[in-house]
């Protein structure tokens, strides 16, 4: 036996063995292996082949990631809400941040036993205030995406390891350092991270001849350049929407596609409190209908190219007709304003708009969107200066990194260098330039010619495919890092989980390339935090980690001086350009997508299935055409058209949407990915090929029908509607989604509400009593912007499956909360309303009465609960639900989930099986967890005995209400007269949808307040 004892075998290195037979390597064992594992016999008996070894390594690395899921491994992870000791199974919340478009929003991530399952906004973060957008919610799904790249890869050799990469990179970059980094370039995505800036500085110091470029396909560089024109240096504009009486947004979607959108949405709604002193009026001038446009009081739809002229005319009218004083510094604009009087847009500037802006110094705001050229931004600075807003509703901070070239310029310069073979080594940090760089650059071909290209990317996508090395990028929730919010405050990013697939952060990669390894992201972030000190102050560090933001790091307000040098002439010249495209062509406006933005979220099923706020389209993009334009083109909804720009054409379906400006069409970017993953590849149509040259905002195109049609999957209006139905829909919408005019409301709130007088419901028998709590919800339609954050938040919280395009097209989407969108008014100047609809938990629930097995019943607090275990799936309840909020599991929607994907499930919420009905529970699990906590917190009761305390108002926050950037949703106890929800139910604006059927819903809507002013039938 001694020969079989591993401990005494000193002849060979220590190894592990599975059985004594294996160790002895007897002929019997060899036979056994050959018999049991014929395919693997070679590998098990002989030294492993390289290929097989790599496969096994890849697989075991994935598994190794799993073992790390149990506990966060970094040594210091303070809690945001610290429980009394670490209790397994008790969720913890960690503060972190997500950076989108170069600005961060602070988040709190819920983690169960080291497994992040839910994202919420960080209430301590000034640019989130606890709210999020859909992307922040959905970022979590990417963490568990099985298509994320799971190993280092080399183009020829296939899968490799990080060690292989290090073995390659160390000598390679040592050699580059020796030549000062010549012929080395870096192309990075935009980042506001101080640590990354620091690493960039070190990189530039180590490789002085290397080039560093940053590129984003959708950037706000025009705003930077506009400020440079106006002030001589890039400035960032900040607006106080809560204090503005008039907001004029020129193509700026500040409610959705803005780095500060979460905060701005909140401010905007705060400035529209119908009971408050001021109620702003929002004017939107835009081309394609945007979320901001959809909540505008007055909306003017004109081609994108005409917006600058429009803005010039606004200023001209203000100066010429409303007596606004042009500051002396802006005297250079005088000739421009004179010329503007003769411009056709001069007449389009509504007199009401001028009245709304004039004479309200410091109480108005003018914003310009990132699509507009730099001169428009400069002009808007001039407008704000003229209106006296600067320093009051409009403030400036200095843009960081003022000297960097614009993104468009950077990618062009890099492509030029690559084309001249000046780049031998290219490091790509994030981004996806092969997919989203201007199409005329031919970036993919250029990249394929670069000798050594190293790509840090979350997916082996279009770009990684042509790079020589691919390094998996750690997900944000696996990473240490930092980022600045829109105001400059640093947010710390801390990992929730060990990298599942061994991913690296950008800081890790740069540290490796600089030879600083094993110095990694954690140390780098601490070093940046310490600001030169050897170690960060532990208390400050812990506090910053706990809160998620580093206090006192916001940028100071700048007081730039405006001038007109250099741009007033360009503004004047631009006035001569035509305002409309030539006959026969249309202006195609490129825009970010409400789901995938620029394509980065293409493989995210939650976002793919999230309906666009306006089109309600899922899983696709389309060319947006106004009804009149469609008639002019001779195309119908769903027809495939060929969109051609100077020889390049893209075929995509038509979506007829009221509100698109005449003579224009719109299309969102980010679709038609070829290597996004199983979810995103092949979804939608790639319009980047039409985005060539410097015209990244819009292009003149020809549009021809192809004669083919395409099935678009929408979550509303699943099928083309007939005239009869359209008419009825329009008639019903005004009773379902009620609005009041601000004037009428101010005059007499009690009688401002339209609609019939409610008939007192007759009770045939004594209603149930709910002596303790009576939960209810109030949804303020005046606050809802329709952004869709609640939909994704609910999906994440409640383990709601994704069903795919085909099932959405059939009308089988599973969302428990949806946002109904209706149009009112003329199709060329529609008014749009958004209405979130979820289970109303009717007191007289029609669903409960018809279920044959009693699977849906009222509980003791009056919630309409669904007993999944009891449900047999007759679907009668949904047939009888007037709000159609119930969702049926037509198939086993959870069937094909991998072990990785199921990690995202909220353990407090049942995963529903096939054949079961489900619906909104008012987040019963959250009610329950707060209740348990309240009961456990002993207070002295009336009789002197210890008892659990009462649940405080606002303590229970359903996922939808939590995510809502504008706090449109309130939840609480209707029995408590002091609760917010009770007060909202009692508001004169409150109404209950379909109340006339005596279903007695627990959800009240608060009517939207319109502030059209002037002539109410809308402009343009």
């Amino acid at each position: 036996m001694s020969s079989l004892d591993p401990t005494t075998d000193s002849g060979r290195p220590r190894s592990f063995w599975r059985s004594l037979d294996e160790r002895a390597d007897t002929p019997e064992f060899r036979q056994f292996v050959e018999r049991e594992f014929p395919a693997w016999a070679d590998e098990m008996l002989e030294p492993a082949s390289r290929r097989r070894f790599l496969q096994l390594m890849g697989a075991s690395m994935a598994l190794a990631g799993m073992t790390a899921c149990r506990w966060p491994a970094e040594p210091i992870v303070p809690f945001a809400h610290r429980p009394a000791g670490f209790v397994p199974g008790e969720p913890l919340h960690y503060a972190t941040a997500l950076e989108l478009a170069g600005a961060a929003v602070g988040l709190l991530v819920t983690s169960y036993d080291g497994r992040p399952i839910k994202v919420e906004g960080n209430p301590d973060h000034a640019y989130g205030l606890g709210g999020t957008l859909a992307w922040h919610q959905a970022a979590l799904l990417d963490l568990y995406d099985p298509d994320r790249s799971q190993h280092v890869a080399q183009r020829e050799a296939g899968p490799a390891s990080w060690d292989d990469f290090v073995a390659f990179a160390r000598p390679h970059f040592d050699a580059l350092r020796a030549v000062r980094g010549s012929r080395l370039a870096v192309l990075a995505d935009a980042s506001s991270s101080p640590s990354r800036a620091d690493m960039r500085a070190r990189f530039t110091a180590a490789f002085p001849d290397a080039r560093w470029y940053e590129y984003e396909p959708l950037s706000r560089d025009n705003a930077r350049e506009g400020a440079r024109l106006a002030f001589g240096r890039p400035q960032r504009t900040h607006v106080a929407l809560d204090r503005a009486e008039t907001i004029l947004s020129l193509d700026e979607d500040f409610l959705l596609h803005h780095p500060a959108a979460v905060r701005y949405a909140r401010d905007f709604v705060l400035g529209r409190d119908p009971d408050g002193a001021t109620f702003s009026r929002l004017w939107v001038v835009e081309t394609s209908p945007s979320l901001t446009g959809s909540v505008a009081d007055r909306r003017i739809a004109i081609p994108n190219r005409a917006i600058q002229a429009f803005a010039t005319c606004v200023l001209a009218k203000l100066v010429h007709e409303a007596g606004a004083d042009l500051p002396a510094a802006l005297d250079g604009l005088g000739p421009v304003l004179d010329a503007a009087r003769r411009h056709p847009m001069y007449g389009r500037v509504d007199a009401d708009l001028v009245l709304d802006l004039a004479g309200k110094a410091g109480r108005t705001v003018v914003l310009a969107g990132p699509r507009l050229p730099a001169e428009t931004h400069a002009l808007v600075h001039a407008l704000n200066a003229t209106l006296g807003n600067v320093g009051r509703t409009v403030t400036y901070t200095a843009e960081p990194d003022p000297d960097r070239p614009s993104h468009a310029q950077a990618i062009r310069d890099l492509a030029r260098d690559m084309g001249r073979n000046f780049v031998d080594t290219l490091v790509l940090v994030g981004g996806n330039p092969v997919y989203d760089a201007p199409a005329d650059l031919g970036f993919g071909d250029l990249l394929a010619r670069v000798k050594t290209s190293i790509r840090l990317g979350a997916y082996e996508d279009e770009t990684s495919r042509v790079c020589t090395w691919h390094v998996p990028r750690a997900h944000i929730f696996e990473s240490w890092g930092d980022a600045r919010d829109f105001g400059g405050t640093v947010c710390l990013i801390q990992p929730l989980i060990e990298p599942l697939h061994g991913g690296r952060t950008d800081l890790d990669l740069l540290a490796q390339l600089l030879g600083e390894a094993p110095f990694a992201a954690y140390e780098i972030v601490r070093r940046t935090f310490a600001r030169g000190a050897a170690e960060p102050d532990p208390r400050a560090w812990h506090e910053a980690l706990r809160v998620g933001v580093v206090a006192g790091t916001a940028w100071p307000e700048a007081g730039p001086t405006i001038g007109t040098a250099g741009w007033s002439k360009r503004l004047r010249a631009a006035l001569d350009a035509p305002a409309y495209p030539e006959p026969g062509s249309y202006e195609l406006v490129f825009g970010p997508d409400a789901s995938v933005i620029d394509g980065r979220f293409a493989n995210n099923g939650w976002l793919q299935e999230l309906a666009d706020p306006l089109t309600k389209l899922t899983w696709d993009n389309a060319v947006i055409v106004a009804p009149a334009t469609a008639a002019e083109m001779g195309v119908r909804h769903g027809d495939v058209v060929r969109v051609t720009r100077s020889g390049t054409s893209v075929e995509l379906p038509v979506f007829v949407l009221p509100g698109q400006a005449p003579r224009t069409v719109g299309a969102t970017l980010g679709y038609g990915r070829t290597r996004a993953g199983r979810v995103g590849s092949g979804a939608g149509f790639d319009v980047y090929p039409l985005r060539v040259g410097d015209d990244t905002a819009w292009a003149d195109v020809r549009v021809e029908p192809t004669g083919r049609t395409y099935r678009l999957a929408t979550t509303q209006d699943h099928f083309a509607i007939d005239t009869l139905g359209a008419q009825e829909r329009a008639e019903r919408a005004v009773t379902l989604v009620r609005e009041v005019e601000l004037e009428a409301w101010r005059h007499d709130p009690q009688h401002a509400m339209p609609g019939e007088h409610a008939v007192a419901p007759v009770e045939l028998w004594k209603p149930h009593e709910y002596p303790d709590e009576r939960w209810g919800m109030a949804i303020d339609l005046n606050a809802c912007t329709g952004c869709g954050a609640c939909v994704v938040a609910c999906q994440a919280e409640n383990n709601i499956p994704i069903v795919g395009k085909a099932e959405v097209a059939r009308g089988r989407e599973m969302h428990w909360i949806r946002i109904d969108r209706y149009f009112a008014g003329a199709p060329d100047a529609p008014e749009i309303v958004h209405q979130p609809v979820t289970c109303h938990h009717c007191e007289n629930a029609p669903c409960e009465q018809v279920c044959p097995v009693g699977a849906t019943v009222h509980d003791a607090e009056g919630l309409n609960v669904m007993v999944y275990n009891r449900c047999i799936g007759t679907r009668y309840c949904n047939n009888n639900c007037p709000y159609k909020v119930r969702r049926f599991n037509w198939f086993n929607n959870q069937k094909h989930q991998s072990d990785l994907e199921v990690m995202i499930y909220n353990p407090d919420v049942t995963v529903r099986s096939r054949g079961v009905m489900e619906k909104c529970t008012f987040c019963l699990q959250r009610i329950q967890s707060v209740r348990i906590q309240a009961r456990n917190e002993q207070v002295r009761g009336e009789n002197g005995r210890a008892a659990g305390r009462l649940i405080r108002d606002g303590e229970i926050v359903p996922a939808c209400a939590q995510a809502c950037p504008t706090r449109a949703i309130d939840f609480g106890d209707l029995n408590d007269p002091e609760s917010r929800v009770h007060r909202k139910h009692a508001s004169p604006r409150a109404y209950r949808m379909l109340a006339e059927f005596n279903v007695r819903p627990r959800t009240a809507y608060l009517a939207r307040v319109r502030n059209r002013g002037g002539h109410p039938e809308g402009a343009a």
Binding site: F719, G725, D820, V837, Q849, V850, N878, R886, N889
Partner: protein, 486 residues
């Protein structure tokens, strides 16, 4: 009932449809006597080899039944999503087919129970037939609610079974009422059918030429010897069962209509539904009886037993019930307008003019316009023309349920949730398969069971009348065309 003497027999001895008030039309034609009736009917069930046509028909029906089985298997293994349903249209072919088949069944019960109580002796020629049709239709009907649920393995939860959890079904749910109504209906119909068949089964037993037949028919004949006491008990039980079954004719389809009327879906929530559904059920049930009787009487030579007069009577009933549902269609619209409920108003306008208007106008054409042809006696007494109209009626009645269910659900309250429905191939095959099941059972019935109630027909023969008119022998003599000839 006996044949009253006549002085002017019709020119065509097979036409007993003349309405001469001075004489009763004969219920059985030809020179039928007890022996010939027995011989004719029993012989059909005793043939060693049925005609080739039976094999072909049976083969096709069995294949379709197999298709049904395959569709159900696919449904069970994959989920209800294989059908084209969605939110808002949670029911479509499943419940349409259910209501359709339940409705078909009603004519059988009406003929066997209500007409029995009203002493309509003409029913004897067709009641066995119609009752069999009822049973098979209810089998097809019961299938659909059972398979339409999401978790079919738990379907037994709809029954009030005592259990340790003390969980009971929801007695407020119309679906539960359905369970009781349909299961009661099936039980009573089956009992009634079988009970009425015992004397005939005994006849077959007595005529059996093989041991197996003797044993099997003997088992089901339950020792019937035709004694006076047997007959006395038989008649009494038959009467009681008829009395029990009679309310079911009205109640079952009323309860089925409650599935809709009790809900709050616009287009469903109308009080007219119970009588309207019952009339519709009788309407399409009679159409189905005729659909089966016309070919059967011709192919099996039963013109003497299932006479033209039988067919004409059924056509008259269809005319009457068709008018009732036509009226119901009209009054629904009137109430939708008069009631002032905007949702209901739209539901009905949408039926006639919305995206599913085609189905509405198919329904009106088939159910209201087509039966108007029955005003013509020529058409009423032309079996194959009537048969064609009955096909229309059955199609129309299927579409009536389609209109009620699909158009109402597809556009209810919130326009944001409006949808549309399109069946998948699985649903179409399932519907086809249910016809396969129905005809398979029916073909087995005509092969092995006496398809006309011999004992009852004999009771309406002239010979059974102790007070036979003196004309009787003469009439018998003139009936030169023997039953056998056909």
């Amino acid at each position: 009932m006996s044949v009253v003497g006549t002085t002017a027999p019709s020119a065509d001895p097979w036409d007993n449809t003349s309405d001469d008030p001075t004489r009763r039309a004969p219920l059985v034609l030809g020179a039928a006597d007890y022996a010939s009736v027995t011989e004719k009917v029993a012989e059909l069930a005793e043939r060693r080899r049925p005609p080739r046509a039976w094999y072909i028909a049976f083969g096709v029906s069995l294949a379709l039944t197999g298709l049904l089985g395959a569709m159900i298997l696919y449904l069970f293994t994959t989920g209800v999503g294989v059908w084209g349903l969605n939110s808002p249209v949670g029911w479509a072919f499943d419940i349409i087919n259910f209501v359709f088949w339940v409705g078909i069944g009603h004519a059988g019960t009406l003929i066997s129970a209500i007409l029995f109580l009203f002493r309509q002796s003409w029913r004897t020629g067709i009641n066995r037939f119609a009752e069999a049709m009822t049973i098979f239709a209810v089998i097809c009907a019961g299938l659909f609610p059972a398979i339409h649920v999401g978790r079919v393995w738990l379907i037994y939860w709809v029954f009030p079974l005592p259990n340790q959890m003390q969980v009971w079904p929801n007695f407020r749910s119309p679906l539960l009422w359905d369970v009781f109504a349909v299961s009661t209906y099936f039980t009573v119909s089956l009992l009634f059918w079988y009970m009425g068949m015992i004397p005939d089964l005994a006849t077959l037993r007595d005529r059996a030429t093989s041991r197996v037949r003797q044993r099997v028919y003997g088992l089901f004949a339950m020792g019937w010897r035709g004694s006076n006491r047997h007959w006395q008990n038989y008649e009494r039980v038959y009467l009681i069962l008829a009395a029990l079954a009679t309310p079911l004719v009205l109640s079952v389809h009323s309860v089925v209509s409650f599935d809709f009327a009790v809900s709050m879906v616009p287009g469903w929530h109308t009080t007219i539904f119970p009588p309207y559904f019952v009339a519709g059920a009788i309407f399409c049930g009679f159409a189905m009886v005729l659909l089966l009787a016309v070919p059967a009487r011709q192919w099996f030579g039963l013109e003497a037993l299932i006479t033209l007069r039988h067919l004409e009577n059924m056509n008259k009933i269809m005319l009457a019930t068709g008018m009732i549902i036509g009226y119901a269609y009209f009054i629904e619209f009137f109430i939708a307008w008069y009631g002032g409920n905007v949702y209901e108003h739209f539901a009905f306008v949408n039926r006639a003019l919305g995206p599913y208007a085609w189905s509405y106008w198919i329904m009106v054409t088939c159910n209201v316009i087509a039966p108007q042809l029955f005003w013509s006696k020529r058409i009423r007494t032309s079996p194959w023309v009537a048969w064609g109209i009955c096909v229309f009626i059955n199609v129309g009645m299927w579409f009536e349920r389609f209109v009620i269910i699909v158009t109402s659900l597809s556009r209810d309250y919130l326009p944001g949730s409006w949808g549309a429905y399109k069946p998948t191939w699985v649903e179409l095959c399932t519907l086809l398969g249910s016809f396969g099941l129905f005809f398979t059972l029916f073909l087995l019935f005509v092969r092995f069971v006496p398809m006309v109630a011999m004992a009852e027909v004999k009771a309406v023969l002239p010979q059974a009348d102790a007070h036979a008119s003196p004309n009787e022998p003469e009439r018998r003599a003139t009936g030169t065309l023997a039953v056998e000839k056909a």
